[in-house]
C-alpha cells in the first residue's frame, strides 16, 4: 500500500491485514511501555484544513507511539489562510521531508489530488475529505465490530453480520466509507434516514434503505447499530432544512432505551462522535453497557498505528 485514500479501492485481503495488524498494535497499547521504535526517523505531517481535534490527536498519538516525528499543520493562522494553494503547501511539506501526510480537507477529493498531483514523494492518508471518504474511521468501526461480534477474529471479515447506519447519510463521509468497507468484508448494510438525508444516485450502492428506525428494527436482526451525528447547521430553518424539527427527528430516528431493548442481546451501539445527546441518541443508550462508543476512540489509535505501519515501515515504493 502506498496511500490510504478511501475504502472503495481496498481489497478484502488488505482490509483484513489492516485489522489484524491493528489487533497486534492494540495489544502493545496494554503494556507498561507503550512506545515502539518502529517508525523512528520518519516524519508524519498532520495537515488539517478543517477543525477536528479528535481525529488529529488520534493520528498524533498513533504516530508518536510508533516513534515517528509529528508536525501539526492547521490551516487556520497559517500560510493557507493567506491564500496558499494545496499544491504549494504540498511542495513545502515535501521540501521538509514528510514521509506521510495525513490530510483532512473540506473539499471532496482533496486527498486524491494530493496523492496523485505528483507534488509529494510520501504516503497520503485521507483523514476525511468533504462528504467523500474517511477510511480510518470505517476501519476502526469494522475493527470494533469484529472484536465484539466475530469469534476468534484474526484473519476473518464480518461475514453475515447486519449493520444499520442511522442518520445523515447525505453529508456523511463516515457512512460512505463504511458502506464500501463493510460490504467488502461480507456484512449487509441497512441505511436508515429520511429521504432528504439520502444522496441522489444511490442505485448502485449495495445497501437496503429504511425510512424510520422502527421499520429497520422490524426487519432482519441487527448486530450493530451506528448512529451518525446530526450536524446542527443542517437541522432546521428556512428552505434549506432537511427535516422539520429536531423533536420529529428524535421521534423517528433517535435511539432511546425502548428501541435499544428491541435489539438482540449481543448487538452493540456505535457512534463516531461527537454525540448530540438527546437528539440522535439518548443518554440511556449512550451510557449503556452495550455502547462501545468510548472503546471506538481507543481502537482508533490502534487502527491508525496499523495504517501508518503498513504505509511507512516497508521498503519505499517508487
Amino acid at each position: 500500500m502506498k496511500h490510504l485514500l478511501g475504502t472503495q479501492d481496498l481489497s478484502r485481503e488488505e482490509a483484513v491485514l489492516i485489522l489484524d495488524t491493528a489487533t497486534q498494535m492494540a495489544a502493545t497499547q496494554e503494556r507498561e511501555i507503550r512506545k515502539l521504535p518502529t517508525l523512528r526517523g520518519k516524519t508524519v505531517v498532520n495537515l488539517f484544513f478543517e477543525d477536528s481535534t479528535r481525529t488529529r490527536i488520534s493520528f498524533e498519538a498513533a504516530a508518536k507511539r510508533l516513534s515517528a516525528d509529528v508536525i501539526n499543520f492547521s490551516a487556520k493562522g497559517s500560510s493557507v489562510s493567506k491564500g496558499e494553494s494545496l499544491k504549494d503547501t504540498a511542495l513545502t511539506l515535501q521540501a521538509m521531508g514528510a514521509d506521510a501526510v495525513v490530510i483532512r480537507h473540506w473539499a471532496s477529493g482533496a486527498a486524491d489530488q494530493l496523492a496523485h498531483g505528483g507534488w509529494l514523494h510520501g504516503s497520503v492518508v485521507n483523514a476525511g475529505d468533504g462528504t467523500h471518504q474517511h477510511p480510518t474511521q470505517a476501519l476502526l468501526d469494522a475493527y470494533t465490530m469484529r472484536r465484539h461480534l466475530v469469534d476468534g477474529s484474526d484473519g476473518k471479515g464480518l461475514d453475515g453480520l447486519h449493520i444499520a447506519i442511522v442518520g445523515d447519510i447525505l453529508h456523511s463521509r463516515v457512512a460512505r466509507s463504511n458502506v464500501h468497507l463493510l460490504t467488502t468484508l461480507g456484512a449487509k448494510v441497512t441505511l436508515v434516514a429520511p429521504p432528504t438525508l439520502l444522496p441522489v444516485g444511490m442505485g448502485p450502492w449495495p445497501v437496503t434503505v429504511a425510512h424510520g428506525l422502527d421499520a429497520a428494527l422490524d426487519g432482519p436482526e441487527i448486530d450493530a447499530v451506528m448512529m451518525l451525528r446530526v450536524q446542527r447547521e443542517r437541522m432546521t430553518g428556512g428552505g434549506t432544512a432537511f427535516f422539520p424539527s429536531p423533536q420529529e427527528y428524535t421521534r423517528l430516528f433517535g435511539l432511546d432505551g425502548q428501541r435499544m431493548a428491541r435489539l438482540p442481546e449481543h448487538a452493540i451501539i456505535m457512534h463516531p462522535g461527537p454525540m448530540n445527546r438527546g437528539l440522535e441518541i439518548s443518554a440511556e443508550a449512550a451510557d449503556s453497557p452495550r455502547s462501545v462508543i468510548v472503546e471506538q476512540v481507543a481502537n482508533g489509535v490502534a487502527v491508525r498505528m496499523a495504517a501508518l505501519y503498513l504505509l511507512l515501515a516497508g521498503e519505499e515504493h517508487m
Binding site: 491485514l17 498494535m25 521504535p37 518502529t38 515501515a313 516497508g314
Partner: protein, 181 residues
C-alpha cells in the same frame, strides 16, 4: 555438505540436551520463562518447556511459555516488503525478575536476537536473558552469542538453512541447501 543435516530423532535429542543444560545452568526451573521467537522459535520453546516439565515437578509448561514477536524492532524494516506483525503473548505473571530463555530456530547474523533484546526490554525487566537455538550457522554481525546450541553447522554465506517442524511444516528436519559459490 548439503541435504538433511538433522532428522527428527536428532532434533529431539538436541532439545532434550538443551532442556537439561538450561536446568543445570540455572539450578532448576524456579524462575524460568521460555519465549519463542515466531515463527519456528515458538514450537521449539513449547517443546523445551514440555521437556523441562517432565524433569521438574511443579513446572507448568503452558504457564511458563510465551511468544515474542520482534517485527517492530527489526533494523531492516525499510529494506524489505512490509512484514506482517505476529502476536506477542507473555506468561500471566509477566517476565519481571524471571530468567528469560529466548528460543529461535537458526542463529545467524545476531540481528534477530538484538531486536528480541529490545522487545524484551519493552515488556518487562527480567533478572537475566539467555539464548537457546536449534542451529548455529555462524556469520555473526553483532557481538551476540548463544548460551545453548543444538547443533553447530558451518555454512557458506550463500547457503540456506531451513528448519522444518511438525507443528508448522508437517515434518521435523534441518535442511542445508547450497547457493552458488
Amino acid at each position: 555438505m548439503t541435504g538433511t543435516i538433522l532428522g527428527a530423532p536428532d532434533i529431539d535429542r538436541a532439545l532434550t540436551r538443551i532442556a537439561h543444560e538450561i536446568l543445570e545452568r540455572n539450578g532448576g526451573a524456579a524462575n524460568i520463562v521460555l519465549l519463542g521467537i515466531p515463527t519456528r522459535g515458538l514450537p521449539l520453546a513449547e517443546r523445551l518447556a514440555a521437556k523441562i516439565a517432565t524433569v521438574e515437578r511443579g513446572f507448568d509448561a503452558h504457564e511458563r511459555c510465551g511468544a515474542l514477536d520482534i517485527t517492530m524492532y527489526r533494523d531492516d524494516l525499510h529494506r524489505q516488503p512490509t512484514r506482517t506483525i505476529g502476536p506477542t503473548t507473555l506468561p500471566s505473571q509477566g517476565i519481571d525478575d524471571a530468567v528469560v530463555i529466548l528460543v529461535d530456530d537458526v542463529f545467524h547474523t545476531g540481528r534477530t536476537i538484538r531486536a528480541a533484546l529490545d522487545a524484551v526490554k519493552d515488556v518487562g525487566r527480567p533478572q537475566s536473558v539467555q539464548l537457546a537455538v536449534l542451529v548455529d550457522r555462524g556469520h555473526r554481525e553483532l557481538p551476540i552469542r548463544a548460551d545453548f546450541v543444538g547443533k553447530n553447522i558451518p555454512t557458506a554465506r550463500s547457503e540456506r538453512v531451513d528448519v522444518h517442524l511438525t507443528e508448522i511444516d508437517g515434518d521435523d528436519a534441518v535442511i542445508l541447501t547450497g547457493g552458488e559459490r
